[in-house]
C-alpha cells in the first residue's frame, strides 16, 4: 500500500472534487482517495502492485482535470 499526493490543476467547483473522488475510489487498485476542493489536491492510498501513478493520472484525466505534480 502506498500513499501519494496528487496536486491537480485548480478545481473550479466543489462538485468536481466529489466527482474526481468518486472516480478515483472506483478505480481498481485504489484503496482510498480524498479529493480536496480547497487545495485542489488528491490524497490517494493505493496498491502499488495493481496500479501505477500513471494510472491514477489517467483516471483523473477522464474527469477533465490534469495532475500538475505529485508528492
Amino acid at each position: 500500500m502506498k500513499k501519494i499526493k496528487l496536486y491537480l490543476e485548480e478545481l473550479s467547483c466543489p462538485d468536481c472534487a466529489n466527482k474526481i473522488e468518486q472516480v478515483l475510489n472506483k478505480t481498481e487498485g485504489v484503496k482510498k482517495a480524498d479529493v480536496h476542493y480547497t487545495t485542489s489536491k488528491a490524497n490517494v492510498e493505493y496498491d502499488s502492485e495493481k496500479i501505477e501513478v500513471a494510472d491514477l493520472k489517467k483516471a483523473v484525466a477522464k474527469t477533465g482535470y490534469k495532475v500538475e505534480r505529485t508528492k
Binding site: 485548480e10 473550479s12 462538485d15 468518486q22 480547497t38 487545495t39 489536491k41 477522464k62 474527469t63 477533465g64
Partner: protein
Amino acid sequence: MKKKLKIVIISGILIILAWLSNFLNYNPLIFKTAMVIAAVIAGYQVAISAYNTLKMKVISINLLVTIAAVGAVIIGEYWEAAAVTFLFAFGSYLESRTTAKARNAIRNLMDLAPNLATVIRDGKEKEIAAEEVEIEEEVIVRPGEKIPVDGTVIKGESEINQAAITGESVPVRKEKGDEVFSGTINQNGYLEIKTEKVGDDTTFGKIIELVEEAQEEKAPTQKLMERFSKYYTPGIILLSVISYFISGSIRLSLTLLVIGCPGALVISTPISIVAGIGNGAKNGILIKGGEYLEKSGEIDLLAFDKTGTLSKGEAEVDQIITYAKSESEVLRLAAAAEFNSEHHLARAIKNKAEAELKESVKSPVSFETHTGKGVTARIDGREIMIGNSRLFKEQGIKIPEKIERKKNKLEKQGRTVVVVSEAEKIIALISIADRPRENAYQIAEKLKRVGIKKIVMLTGDNERIAESVAEELNLDGYKAELLPEDKVKAVEEYQKEGYKVAMVGDGINDTPSLVTADIGIAMGAAGTDAAIDTADITLMADNLDKLPYAVGLSKAANRNIKQNVAFAVLVVFALLAGVLGQKVFLASGMLVHELSVLIVIFNAMRLLRYSTE
C-alpha cells in the same frame, strides 16, 4: 481558464445575436439555430465530462445540466437551453476566478519559499537548490537574499525581515549564535549560517504543510452540509421523475435537474475557511483547521499562562539580599545549583552570574529538580537549596520571620522571590522581576472588543504577584501558585462553569492545559515544533498584539460561515419552492443558482480583508 472565457464570450454573443434577429423580425429559424449553436458551444465540454464520469457510474452536476439542456431543445425551448448552458459556463468561470483569489493567500505564501542556496564546496562558492544543502553545511547569505535554511548564524550580523514566518515586517537584528529561519529575508548584512534543517523540515516548510492540511480539515458544519447534499441531489432527481408522472410537465422536471446541485451550500463553509486560514497565515497565525475556527467563535473566556505571554518570560534578577556570605558568593552558588535547569527563573540567575562573575559557572556534583518548587544541589561539598516557600516547607526548613517579611514586601511589588539556603540555613533572597510586556496593558480591552467576556491569568507565581499583575493589567481574575497539572484543573473548572475556554501559553511547559482547553493558543512559537504540534492556533510571532487579531479573525470567520450557510439553505428552499410553484424555470433557476454561489464566495472573500485596525 482562457478557453473557458472564450466559450462564454462566443456563446454569449450568439445569444445576443439570436435575440437581435428575433426583434428585427428575421426568420425564426435563425433565432433557433443561433440559440442551439450557443448551447452546444457552452455545453459541449460539460457534456463530454458528463459522459466520461457517467462511464465511471458517477452522476455529476454536469450530467444534470446536459440532460436539462438537451431536453429543453427537444421540447422546443431553445432560449432556455442556451441560457442554462451559458449561465452554467459563465458561472463556473467566475467561480474559479474568485475562488482562485481566495486560495491565493496560500499560494503567495508558498512563493516565499527559498529556491537557491550559496554554499562552499571544494573551496569554491556554489549555488545549489535549497533542499540540497546538507545538515551542518555552511551557507552564505548576502544582503537582499532569502535565507535558504533553518540554522544558526556563525558569522556576521544583519537585520532580518521575518514576515514569512511571523507576519511582522519590522526587521529583527540577528548576530552570531542567533537562530535564523528559512524564507526570511536578509536585509543588509553578510551572514554565514550553519545549517540545521532544510526543505520540508524547516519551520517554513512546516507552516506550509500545516496550512495545506488545515484547509483540508473539514469543519463540523461542512460535514453536515456534505451529508445533506449527498441525499439532496439524488432526492431531486427522483423528484424530477415523480413530478413528470404527476404533472406531465417536462419543463418542470428539467428545471428540477438544474437546481439539483446545491452549489452554494456545498461551497459555503470551505470557502470561508480557506479565506480565514489564508488571512491568518499571511499574518503569522496558523489555524489548524475549520473546526477550530468554528470553535473559536464560541470562546468567551480566555486564560493566560502568564510567563511568555503577558510577560516576556525573560526574567531578570533585580536584587540579591544576603544574610550570610557575599553577594557574588551567593550568585556563584545559586547559578551552579541551577546549572542544569531550563526554568526561566533559573535562566535569570545564570544570566546574572554570567554578567557579573569573572569565572564561569561550574556544574554541580549532584542535582535534583522539584518541579514547580525549585532545586537541590551539591556544590563543592555544600548542600545548596534554592526555590520557593513550598520547597522549604516540604523540606521542613523554616524561614525566619524577618526574612519572610522582606520576602512578602518584595512580592507585593510584583517580584518573584526565590530563597537560597546552605545546609538548612537561609543565606539569601533573590528577587526576580518578570515585568509585563508593554502591550499587555491594553490586551484586556482589545480582547473584550473582539468578543471575549472574561480574561483570567493562570500562573505559578504566588498569590501576591498574581494579584498585583492581574490588577495592573485589568484582568477579571487570576489563579495563583499553580503547578502545570493545577492549570489543567483550573481550565476544567472554568469549563464546568459553562465557559468555552481558550488557553494561551508559550507552548513550552503548558502543553497539558493547552490541550485541555477548548482552544489552545501557543504564542511566539517560531522554531518550537512542539508548540506548533500541540496548539490549535499558533502565533508565530512573540507579539501579544497578534492575539486579539487571531481571536477576532476566528470569530469573524465563524460568523461568515454562519451567514453563508443560512443564505445557502434559504436559497435552496426558495429555489425548490419557486420551481415547484412553477415560478422559476430553467434559465432563471440557473441564474439564481449561479448568483447564490457567487454571493457566498464574495462574502467569504471579505475575510481576506479582515483586519483589527
